[in-house]
Symmetry: C2
Subunit: 345 residues, 2 copies
Amino acid sequence: MKKTNFIIALVFCALIAVSCKNETTVTTADENQKTEVTDPLPSWNEGDTKNAIMTYVGEVTSEGSPNFIPIADRIATFDNDGNLWSEQPLYFQFIFAIERVKVMAPDHPEWKTTQPYQSVLEDDMKKLMSYGEHGLLKIVMATHANNTVEEFEQIVKDWLATAKHPRFKRGYSEMVYQPMLELLAYLRANDFKTFIVSGGGIEFMRPWVEGVYGIPKDQVVGSSVKTEFVMEDGVPKIKRLAELDFIDDKAGKPLGINKFIGRKPVFASGNSDGDLQMLQYTDSNTYPSFQLYLHHTDEEREWAYDRESSIGRLDKGLDEANAKGWTVIDMKNDWNTIYPFQIED
Amino acid sequence: MKKTNFIIALVFCALIAVSCKNETTVTTADENQKTEVTDPLPSWNEGDTKNAIMTYVGEVTSEGSPNFIPIADRIATFDNDGNLWSEQPLYFQFIFAIERVKVMAPDHPEWKTTQPYQSVLEDDMKKLMSYGEHGLLKIVMATHANNTVEEFEQIVKDWLATAKHPRFKRGYSEMVYQPMLELLAYLRANDFKTFIVSGGGIEFMRPWVEGVYGIPKDQVVGSSVKTEFVMEDGVPKIKRLAELDFIDDKAGKPLGINKFIGRKPVFASGNSDGDLQMLQYTDSNTYPSFQLYLHHTDEEREWAYDRESSIGRLDKGLDEANAKGWTVIDMKNDWNTIYPFQIED
């Protein structure tokens, strides 16, 4: 079993729709006249990173340019955890799973004396981690399966509507990156089709990504459990089974892209070694392509971690980005805003 | 192993783009003025079937209507074989496989004396069929796998560019149903998102569905083989393995829809018992939904078959359509044109 990379969720969010309007106006001058240009990426500081993105998009969308890419081929794929929203101190989907164990515990009295559930109920994270991936998988399966697709969707929505992040005391759907919301919108405005390609659960993301990122449910690729179709009293139901179907991480990402999208991306964005194969795959496109790594360098406003982190480790990816000249976002210096709620009204 | 339902392909097709312009103009009168209305479904005869479709679409897209469906939920799924293009005398994808065995035979001298390949090389279809599904699967795996995604795409395109249907002597991509092309365009014009959900191979369809049906590659759900991501001399490749991954037929169709689309359709169109679960699933939508079965009743212009056919059997589905009042297309009486090439210039 490959490392199971878990992800999380957040919902609705008129809040973000509102904060997305945070566009600034830049006045530029040429010899003859002043032109007002609306900056599509106001939360990005001026500099090499922003320049690289906008130069690429400008070139590949200019008809007549030797680098022009037809609209159908403008596929952009984004990792989610640590790339569109935060992933510390734990993948949000794993926080969801832990909180679910506690909610479900009254129906499972045996968990009080059965590991790894016992360590969750006793808030003993160190002990929980000692059970390794197998232990985590048990927690996830116990909390994500044995229900219908509709039931699970409602559970995710209900959790997102009330759960708060331990550090920022905000809903998890508020912990998305304002600069990435702008980048998604900017790419779509230039006729890119934006997809999430995440190690997180596909059915954990679908309930909320439409409202939060503007990405339709059918443009989400993620990890999944096996499912079963049953007719109960003449009513068709899809049941989620406690068995892994697909892990959309590392080499699974290009495979997931090929399976779900059927076309090699020209733009790929990630933040960890789990995204490396997706970026390599995109880099092999015969069209001009763009590889973007987000480097978490801002301990004060978000978190700072890379080569040694057990969550979102960026080690081999950083080396390859440097070797190949991929664009690396330095969060601390390239972003003037992290979260939408930090924008002054 | 469930029955493997194979599908087929055709490409490019400016021809169809041209023939799609075959719209007629209907003049209607109300008390005060004459209004010219362009008929979006000119290849459909006036009658109950066409009325049912247009009434449904009109109702669910009228803001303020109690039956209004938001755009994001307007998901329409179409079977392909025998529903968007013909499937006789054999699923076109199976014809492709048989022809591939012959092309590949020089590299496989052992096939001359090894079944089921030998029966293919000797054009002994009866003997080939005697090897059952297991034999067919061998033929498919030998001809569809052990190559990269790009190589297979090129093989499909090359075949479609030259292969001719035995009865009509036309390219297979010309054997699509003009009325269904009109229906797809009509639904899209009303903000439905159209998907193919087919038992055929997903990578057999993707090379050509965009040009022929106007359906993007990422809106195709189909059967698949397992794949593997490898780096060869620093170049990432996705290899197709000779092992089934997913059969998108019968109960597999709602599972495929849930996995790839993540949303229950409101409109589903099929022609065989292999589509029954997809139609049942759609029928359980809380939004008003539409179930459409195509009944092959036109021996002269196409083929006539239903309950006893080994290809595209429509038996249980016909009973359920009658019991539930689903709409059934009588091809002979409901369609004034079958194929685009039959339209007079």
